[in-house]
């Protein structure tokens, strides 16, 4: 008899991975709030609001990176349009946040400011229900899922793959960006959504709200890693890897790759939507530039830097690249693009397995130097 699903999911991780995950959650849920709230400002142990926002933001990015890794590293499908799903989740939740402003906007009206600016008298139909938290949360999941499913169905059915698929996803997010840039689309045009005041009635800038969002992001990231670990070690994950490596052969054996690809593709989009919904209240703004092709392709480089085909790699990559970005754009703004461009080139040329691959190489070499039998590098790192 098969064990219940939840046991199987939880047993996908080994002891070391659980330990790492536990430390991570303890840091995010206990240590950071304590250091932020209890330790006075000015003390070297105080965790600043800036740091919390930055790390919270990067955790959202890490979640996107894991979602990207699921389809690219394990499914062999490179999407250059994941920013779209991220932004859709963000916009869906942003609608709720806009409604929570209530009459505190600069025009003091019940409608969001940009609608007053456009001289609209009532909410368009697609804003219906946007004042309910539950509906917004549902929409943040459902919208990316539906878009991804419809697009993926047509793309995978006609067996579009490789660079074709990549470029078409890029075109998709580009078209969506143009659409959202229009004021008439009804999502604030250029400026998008900003100036949020409350979430569920709590002030969005209060330290407690920030910490709750921070904790939720950490939990979401941890849960995603566990789920992903289980997925890639399950039968489903093995079929997926087989499709990545030799799609025709998988078809000859009798599998239909369409549903496997579509499932992982939609799941990946939903994860991006969750990340977007968590991102918007923490960063306080969402606008169409999140859908720009450049942003989406940057997601791929986080995964590549960390090491695709591993689950911890994307998280490491997202942290390394984004910390570098926030340091560079402050210290040497002119050189950031050079650095990013060179990162793209160097990582693809020299580090096909990313930082995780480099670390494994290093460990294997050290083991060999010590005269021990070369340690067999486990496939896939612990989550």
């Amino acid at each position: 008899m098969r064990k219940p699903l939840i046991i199987r999911i939880l047993s996908a991780l080994d002891r070391k991975a659980w330990l790492a995950l536990g430390i991570f959650l303890a840091l995010a849920l206990v240590a950071v709030p304590a250091l932020h709230l209890l330790v006075p400002e000015g003390s070297p142990f105080h965790v600043s609001t800036y740091a919390i926002t930055l790390v919270g933001k990067i955790m959202c990015y890490a979640l996107v990176a894991v979602a990207m890794d699921l389809i690219w590293g394990f499914g062999g499908i490179l999407s250059l349009g994941h920013g779209l799903f991220f932004a859709l989740g963000g916009y869906a939740f942003g609608m709720y946040l806009m409604r929570q402003i209530g009459t505190d906007g600069s025009y003091g009206a019940a409608l969001p400011d940009f609608m007053i600016f456009l001289d609209w008298k009532e909410l368009p139909w697609f804003w219906l229900g946007s004042d309910s938290f539950g509906w917004a949360a549902f929409l943040a999941l459902a919208l990316p899922a539906v878009v991804a499913f419809v697009f993926g169905y047509f793309a995978f059915r006609s067996r579009i793959k490789g660079v074709y698929f990549s470029i078409i996803t890029q075109a998709l997010t580009y078209a969506a960006m143009l659409l959202f840039f229009r004021n008439e689309t009804g999502f604030g045009g250029n400026n998008g959504f900003t100036d949020f005041k409350r979430i569920l009635g709590y002030s969005i800038t209060a330290p407690e709200t920030r910490l709750v969002l921070f904790g939720l992001t950490a939990l979401a990231l941890a849960a995603t890693l566990v789920l992903a670990r289980w997925l890639v070690t399950s039968r489903f994950g093995r079929v997926l890897a087989a499709i990545r490596d030799a799609e025709s052969r998988v078809m000859f054996i009798g599998y239909n790759p369409l549903w496997y690809k579509l499932a992982i593709w939609t799941l990946s989009a939903v994860l991006c939507g969750i990340a977007g919904a968590l991102y918007v209240p923490q960063v306080g703004i969402i606008n169409p530039s999140e859908m720009s092709p450049g942003n989406s392709i940057e997601i791929a480089i986080w995964v590549a830097v960390g090491g695709r085909g591993t689950l911890i790699g994307p998280v490491i990559g997202a942290f390394v690249v984004n910390l570098a970005k926030s340091w560079f754009t402050v210290s040497f703004p002119e050189y950031w693009l050079f650095f990013l461009g060179l990162l793209f080139i160097v990582v693809t040329l020299m580090l096909p397995h990313g930082l995780v691959g480099l670390w494994k190489q290093f460990v294997a070499k050290r083991a060999a130097a010590r005269g021990a039998a070369p340690a067999l590098v486990a496939k896939g790192a612990s989550a």
């Binding site: 660079v163 074709y164 590549a304 693009l337 461009g341 060179l342 793209f344 693809t348 096909p352």
Partner: protein
């Protein structure tokens, strides 16, 4: 008076012409007054005067003068001038002037109280093609302004007819702008099609090669301005080879240092070339500044050909279409009539087999990449003549030109040509109908649907392939 030679002197109007003076009322010479006071004319009086003078010149024996005055009378005619125009019409023998006078006469007669005269005027006007006539006839289609039924119906019919013709001209104009967009797309896509066909990689920095071409044109313009100001008009002729070789050189460097090492890893190539494009954009910002630079049309490219009264084809766009055709011809010759072209086609069709029979595939890769990059550079020169030149001008073109390759099918020039022109015209037509953004989205959706039906493009290479 229109020459500012009418002065007030001692309460009398005096015309002063050089050092002679005439009494304005009688025309008799008088003494040049000591302190003539100039009459200031406002624009309305000037306009009336110009019209009156033009009408008078209609009787001049010099044909050129008559033509000039008839042209002046096209824009605005007073009803009072009608009898004068009728007389001039009778005397006129030149057909061109006669046609113009008929028009002017009819315009003047539109205000005639006699319905028959108005009817004749409407009839005469309805046969012309000038877009201004429509606005003249419009008041006559309303019951409030035109009492006579016959005149009104005639005017309504004439306006309808005219609108049809205007719509047709607009359609032609749109097709033409689609054609010029298509030729830019063609120049961008030709290079991409060659490199994609030969190596199976998409060069995401392809748009930046366009940018390099455009900046080459800018650099040549600055160079000519500084060194050879007399020949400034010909900077473009120098820019064409410079852009080709600069872009080709950058392409060779890209291929040798990056793309070559990623052979067979197409997705990684996407990322690496994207990195290259970021570096190139930032390099352009550092070298030329983040702002757009100004690249002027040479004087022989400004202006246009008037095909219909409201359809002017600008020279720069005509020349770009011609230039694209010229480049296309050269590429066709290169691909089909030279040894290099044969090798390129062989590698496109079957790399392993081509290698077996002695084609130096690695060198062909480099050369094909250089060729593709050079063509993109040429596209950049063309682009510099019709749009802004800035560091990130190339970014929008990679998706568009890849779409051309996808729709056209890989490995055939004909596919790229039809796809480029078709996409250009289709998107311009849609733009006129639904706005630029919706048009762009519709085109993308149409392409996605198209790939469902024909994943190998319009023109597919025939053969038995397995991945």
């Amino acid at each position: 008076m229109a020459d500012d030679s009418l002065y007030l002197a001692g309460g009398k109007a005096v015309i002063i012409d050089g050092d002679q003076a005439f009494d304005a009322a009688t025309g008799s010479p008088v003494k040049v007054p000591e302190s003539p006071e100039s009459l200031t004319l406002n624009n309305r009086i000037r306009g009336e005067l110009a019209n009156a003078l033009a009408a008078l010149k209609l009787f001049d024996p010099d044909r050129a003068l008559r033509l000039e005055s008839a042209t002046k009378l096209q824009s605005k005619v007073d009803p009072e001038l009608a009898p004068l125009l009728a007389r001039a019409l009778e005397k006129e023998s030149d057909t061109e002037i006669k046609a113009m006078l008929t028009l002017a006469h009819a315009q003047a007669n539109l205000g005639n109280p006699d319905p028959l005269a108005r009817l004749a005027a409407v009839k005469a006007l309805s046969e012309t093609t000038s877009p201004t006539v429509r606005s003249l006839l419009l008041p006559l289609t309303q019951k409030e302004t035109e009492a006579d039924d016959r005149v009104r119906y005639k005017a309504i019919a004439a306006v309808k007819h005219m609108e049809q013709r205007l719509g047709f001209a607009e359609l032609l104009a749109r097709i033409f702008s689609g054609l010029s967009l298509g030729s830019i797309l063609l120049l961008a896509a030709l290079g991409l099609a060659i490199t994609y066909g030969v190596m199976g990689v998409i060069n995401m920095a392809h748009g930046e090669l366009l940018m390099i071409g455009a900046y080459s044109a800018y650099a040549m313009q600055s160079f000519f301005r500084a060194v050879l100001p007399d020949y400034l008009d010909w900077y473009l002729a120098a820019a064409v080879p410079v852009a080709f070789f600069t872009a080709a050189a950058v392409g060779v460097v890209m291929e040798r240092t990056v793309i070559r090492w990623l052979y067979g890893r197409t997705l990684e190539t996407l990322l690496a070339t994207w990195g290259l494009s970021l570096v190139l954009i930032q390099a352009a910002r550092v070298l030329f500044g983040a702002q757009n630079v100004e690249v002027a049309n040479p004087s022989w490219m400004s202006g246009g050909v008037e095909l219909l009264p409201n359809l002017i084809l600008p020279w720069n766009r005509i020349i770009i279409v011609g230039f694209a055709l010229f480049v296309l011809f050269l590429v066709w010759v290169l691909m089909n009539r030279t040894r290099l072209g044969m090798f390129v086609r062989a590698v496109t069709q079957n790399r392993a087999m081509a290698g077996c029979v002695g084609v130096p595939t690695a060198r062909i890769d480099t050369l094909a990449f250089a060729l593709g990059a050079g063509i993109a550079g040429l596209g950049g020169v063309a682009l510099s003549q019709i749009s802004n030149v800035g560091p990130d001008m190339g970014q929008g073109y990679i998706v568009d030109s890849f779409m051309v390759v996808v729709v056209g099918g890989v490995g055939q020039l004909a596919g790229a040509v039809w796809a480029a022109l078709g996409l250009g015209i289709f998107s311009k037509l849609l733009e006129g109908w639904s706005g630029a953004v919706v048009a762009k989205i519709t085109v993308l959706v149409a392409i996605i649907v198209f790939i469902q039906k024909r994943p190998q493009g319009i023109f597919a290479l025939k053969g038995r392939f397995v991945e």
